[in-house]
Amino acid sequence: MAPAALDHTRTPRRSAALAAGVLVAGLGLAAVPLGAADGAVTTLYVGGTGCSDAGTGTASVPYCTIAKAAKVAVAGQTVLVSSGTYTDEVFPWHSGTSGSPIVFQPAAGAAVTISGAKHGFTISNQSWITVSGFTIESSPRDGIYVYNATGVTLTGNTVRTSGQRVSGSTAYGMYLNAMTGSVVSGNLVTNNSASGIFLTNGSTGNQIVGNESSWNAYGYVRNAVGIDLRAPGNVVRGNRVHDNEDSGIQSYPGGDNNTVVDNVSYHNMGFTTTVQSNCSQPPTGNTAGCLTGDHGIDNYGVTGGSVVGNTVYANVSAGINLEGVASGTTAGYTIADNVAVDNAIGCPDGAGGTFKCPRTRGNIRVDATSQLGTSVDFDLVNLSVAGTMMIWGSTSYTSLSAFRSASGQEPRGLQADPRFSNASGGVFTLQPGSPAIDSANSGAPGHLATDAAGQPRADDPSTANTGVGARSYDDRGAYEYQPTTSTGSTP
């Protein structure tokens, strides 16, 4: 380094003065994250007539590529992108700060697509970055890749068709690796060739809120999940996950202590004529085809989580599933306030008919390894045809009452039609008279004062309050019934 090269050319006094100067100047500058200086531009522009990556990103001479703007943008600057389809991988070179993030977003009214870049965005070793409002499609690798970052906000993006449905070429919609204290909200993550949103490697303290993750599939092996958690201590709230090739939401080894609340997980169930390496084939109909889909919410080999206030409907196998905890380990799960209906019945046979679903059954299933320390209560379950309602340990029960008598769980559970507005159409709000209304435990871990749609809890004057906790009128399931005339949302 230059100062060392200078040392032997100077007297000790001069060297000391020089070292002090370096130290003072260096400390003073390095302690402050690089940011837009006072009076510096706060907006960088990308795309449009007269663009040049050799310029400075002004409105009159914008950059041509988002990647160029990402290279120079510093804390407090916003990168506004004009309409168009861009092909560059966006790789921010600097961090923002908590109060002055670096923001990437389309210009007002603009529609911006990033197509074909290896990753649409790679946020690696940079923090306090916001990515908002982009469409990212056809990335050979994951649509958005984050590594070792905090304070990232990914919001309002559409991420689709990442990777290829070929072994070795698949890609996630969002791959979130060692990401902490971040927010992923309001994104549509669909039709990717691996799981939609994937958290791994110690990613913790994140909020995964209000996203839709759907139609994700490997194509050759049944394993793409809507939201896949391999990391602990995250909140997954108010998401809609459906029609994925595997489970809607899952916590797998590494994913302890996650809170899964107020989500809607439905119809993770399908049929493909492509043979898969782990498929279940129907005994009738198209017997050469494969059944896709799995649990609504799967918890496998994990402990300490909460599954609260979700609506879980018409998935291929057990709607809410706990299994695979190491022998002698306390699972310590809380399952409460959920509405789980018609799971593991009526699987498609590929010829317009249905057959008996081939894998695990039940609206809620707790296997023999997962019972220790697990609590199941205040759920509403139902089947529209006879079948397995619940599983506790190795025993199946066709009714909630039988389950309750044998297990001692669900003392305040209900078995009844929840009266969804339009389940086949994916509308799971409650109709008047639903037994889910005003009957939840508002004190369940993770239970919120608002529902999946952000609506406040509301007391239905025509329904007796049978719930418990600070508010005895909260509803079970993801959506709070909003009576025409509300008495207010606070006690």
Partner: protein
């Protein structure tokens, strides 16, 4: 010897301090991952990793691939699977290549789940083991593709 060292010997002390501040500024800027249109060299944490990291990581991938292949062989023990997972996780932690990290982490994650399937005797563990085994093979295919193996 730095090419700038000889001229500096003839400069007065004030000039040296000014230069030192300049060096400090440059150091601070680089430490913040800054760059400029003039082509300042980025810090290690900024910009894509050097290609050499991918090359060197792929060179050591043979043992990871072999261990993972063995882990999904019939009759492999939970300890064998755990060992393979450890190798993959070590690569994922140490690499500076985003590509290698992502794929090695995928492999480590799926091997962690596979270890649960191997060590948990439930009525459905065979099904789960088959599912996850297929995923591990997909992870291996991706690593082989990346490393041209």
């Amino acid at each position: 010897m730095s090419p700038t060292a000889a001229p500096l010997r003839r400069r007065p002390p004030v000039a040296g301090v000014v230069l030192a501040i300049g060096v400090a500024v440059a150091t601070a800027v680089v430490a913040n991952g800054a760059t400029s249109d003039a082509g300042t060299v980025p810090s290690r944490s900024a910009g894509p990793p050097p290609v050499s990291s991918l090359v060197s990581d792929c060179a050591s991938m043979g043992t990871v691939l072999a261990a993972a292949s063995g882990a999904t062989a019939p009759g492999a023990s939970a300890a064998t699977v755990g060992g393979a997972r450890g190798r993959a996780a070590t690569v994922a932690r140490s690499t500076t290549s985003d590509d290698v990290r992502e794929l090695a982490q995928n492999l480590a994650d799926d091997l962690a789940a596979y270890r649960v399937a191997v060590s948990t005797a439930t009525s459905d563990s065979a099904q789960r083991r088959a599912d996850i085994g297929a995923m591990v093979r997909g992870d291996l295919a991706a690593l082989r593709r990346l490393c041209h193996r």
